[in-house]
Symmetry: C2
Subunit: 215 residues, 2 copies
Amino acid sequence: MAEASQSRVAAGARADDGTERKDRYHHGDLRESLIEATRALVHAKGAEHFTLADACRFAGVTTAAPYKHFRDKQEILEIVCQRGFEKLKADTAHAVEVAGPGTLEAIQLMGRAYTTFASTEPNLFRLMFGQNSDLKTAGIVDEAGTGCLAYLIEQVALFIEKQGRAEDPRHVALKLWTFVHGASCLLIDHDYDKVAPGLDVEALVNSASRDILGS
Amino acid sequence: MAEASQSRVAAGARADDGTERKDRYHHGDLRESLIEATRALVHAKGAEHFTLADACRFAGVTTAAPYKHFRDKQEILEIVCQRGFEKLKADTAHAVEVAGPGTLEAIQLMGRAYTTFASTEPNLFRLMFGQNSDLKTAGIVDEAGTGCLAYLIEQVALFIEKQGRAEDPRHVALKLWTFVHGASCLLIDHDYDKVAPGLDVEALVNSASRDILGS
DNA sequence: TTGCGAAGTCAGCGGCACTAACTTATGTAA
DNA sequence: TTACATAAGTTAGTGCCGCTGACTTCGCAA
């Protein structure tokens, strides 16, 4: 009994090069291992250079193995993408907790969480928000994306109410999101680099937030 | 003599399916034909689904032929990318001409030209502004991108001066660019769709422009 | 007229996504 | 304890891709 369950424990069986050791026929948890490999490879090289074959080498299995766990290459990317949205959602929620709801600081900290996420996980960010129409049709993005924006609208509504102003919080939130998203894209795609080297993106976002919030 | 020079005239030799007819050994202007095929295919299917082999079929040559004219696949994409920047630059310049320099309308029309370019050529826009670090290192993007922003800074400087205000036109222009770029990305990547279906992007951009310009 | 070089073709390499058929290991039920 | 169904691997192979080297065709200039 105890003997049998031991073969399930495959985690940590790694060689020096970080790839999985091939010392038993069954992997243990290939599914999770491939997802993690995909996440790491996308992080390192970008989704457009990610190959399933690389992930297989990383996990120490043949290139046919993934198809016991996933429909195709796209499905693994979808899962990685989905986990990215969960992380982003958690990050922005954390920002509100720290700053206190309905404050300018909360809104600015949410923006900062967004740009920080983008700059620490640029390739994942591109995967999440890029075209990739195949991903989008899966509907994965919708729920998570809507959730993130809903948080922001909520905070903006609270803030506007406190200020005693009569703007549409949805409209204001969309403008904030648009700006922060633009800043994230231009930052991670290095489009600011030549044009405004050493730009302080956080300051830019905070400045624009004040413009848009009218304060 | 007249006979010989005729074989140079290959333009317009197209079959019903739009592909080049194969009625002579030399193509005539394969280089330009491949660039145009690449532009069309990127437009239709996106750079990530573009294959050189497709472009060759379109031009009616074998898959080895492009390498007489281009280093590799990347080089054709670079050229298409560069022409895209030239188009964007011309479009924004035209906007200023129409609206008159230094006006709010000029600035807003430049923004509109940007989002219109993005939405009529979404795949080209992504190619131009996406990571694609291989493209970026080529330096093609730098000159063109800097040129576009320089126009904007100029107009913003004129506008601010007229208003008699003492802001840094560079800083203001960067905010405007950031917003317009964000709006373009979210629009073409269909990220607005679920969250704000039927959103009037032009109105959003104009509203934000007023916020940022403080008028 | 000829010959050289530009611009094609052909055949082939390695890598990728994916599949069909086969093999191994594992948990369950007799 | 053993037999077996099945989950989870492998092997071998397909077709497409980017790219290369060796060969061929053609246009131009001497």
